[in-house]
Symmetry: none
Subunit: 226 residues, 2 copies
Amino acid sequence: MNKPRILLIDDEEKIHQFISISLTAEGFEYLGCRDASSGLECFQNDKPNLIILDLGLPDIDGSAVLAMIRKIGNIPILVLTAREQSAEKVKLLNAGANDYLSKPFEIKELIARIKVLLRDIQYEPIPAELHFENLIIRTFEPMVFIKNTSIHLTKKEHQLLLLLAINPGVLISQKKILVAIWGEFHSGDSHYLRVLITHLRKKLKDDAEDPIYIKTEPGIGYRFIC
Amino acid sequence: MNKPRILLIDDEEKIHQFISISLTAEGFEYLGCRDASSGLECFQNDKPNLIILDLGLPDIDGSAVLAMIRKIGNIPILVLTAREQSAEKVKLLNAGANDYLSKPFEIKELIARIKVLLRDIQYEPIPAELHFENLIIRTFEPMVFIKNTSIHLTKKEHQLLLLLAINPGVLISQKKILVAIWGEFHSGDSHYLRVLITHLRKKLKDDAEDPIYIKTEPGIGYRFIC
DNA sequence: ATTAAACGTAAATTTAACGTAAATTTAGCG
DNA sequence: CGCTAAATTTACGTTAAATTTACGTTTAAT
């Protein structure tokens, strides 16, 4: 496997210095950002395998960043916090953090926690393109190719297709899809999804009755068939 | 999905009391052991989905227990520790713990961490497929295979078959089945079940008179024979 | 032998879920 | 601001699943 890429979003230069050294020493690839907006950009462009996020950022509130990242993908996030309030911690974990460390912390503990997260979640980097028989799906931009003709997708259509196509043959539940794309789930929201599926199928020229790409599993979810 | 089962191994009765209350309130099933040896036994027999392990056990050293559990399976383990040494924590995480909490801790934080672990690791107590002579039953989706031809089941048919097939040879009472599938039970509801059994048998090409898969035990219930 | 209780199954009915078109609202951009 | 594309909401026809009804068959007890 490639070196896991780890993105540190923190405004303290000292933290960057000593974390980057330890990370590279441990065989990780280090990426660094000093504020939330460039951190989000880096997340989109460089596809890190894990994010270390400081909550006390200058531009955007850390928990907002957390929510934004969670909306896009399920990358493991380790939060650094100065506060030692237990209620705060609970909020963080519920908001989507996978773990946290209070400053000051020991670098060894940070490394250990990173390893645990990478081990448990078995995060695998996603290739730039997914190739299937007649279909190519770009993962960085909402575009697909069918027999070499390009088709533009909307952001949501793209997210949906990726979610399904990354797990070819696997049945993905409606709930999972709703959470992945809309961030939350209220029972009865599945009509959003039905419409989105229709739009996507239309663009892919897929027939719901006799699908080549997206198969409905009634009462449960959808499945990408290849 | 079934309630996640959580095993607490700790020698303090008070801890058991207030953790068990919170766990059940949060929809988990609580299992409790007071020492390491019975904890290990419970782990083997009851297949919990997560273990909360206190390090200060009377009989065996906690980290030895940790290692033993790790040897058998990759169930998430949350360690409780009185010590606050960072070096100790690192050792724990490297030894196979997925997370830890120092006593005293807030119960809310414990619950939050449990949820994160269960969410991330997506621990599946049941294997993805149950294999029998000529029959393969998918557990995540309503599909079975008989001699490599796939057969689609409805949700209820699938639930019923799983309930029976997870306990091969065991007689399951009608009442148990009704409760498991419909959530409640009113005497005289068994005709629902008879119809469902018929549907299922038809799809499995099973003959009620001379069954290969589902045997009727008149007056009591049904039994999966393999 | 007759009867009652329990079962199996076919068919009818009701309910839930899906797919799609069209209308409306929201968001991004010059 | 005004335009365009995207996202959401509404509405409705269609299909599949679940439930209900009805009835014939087996089994075991009187």
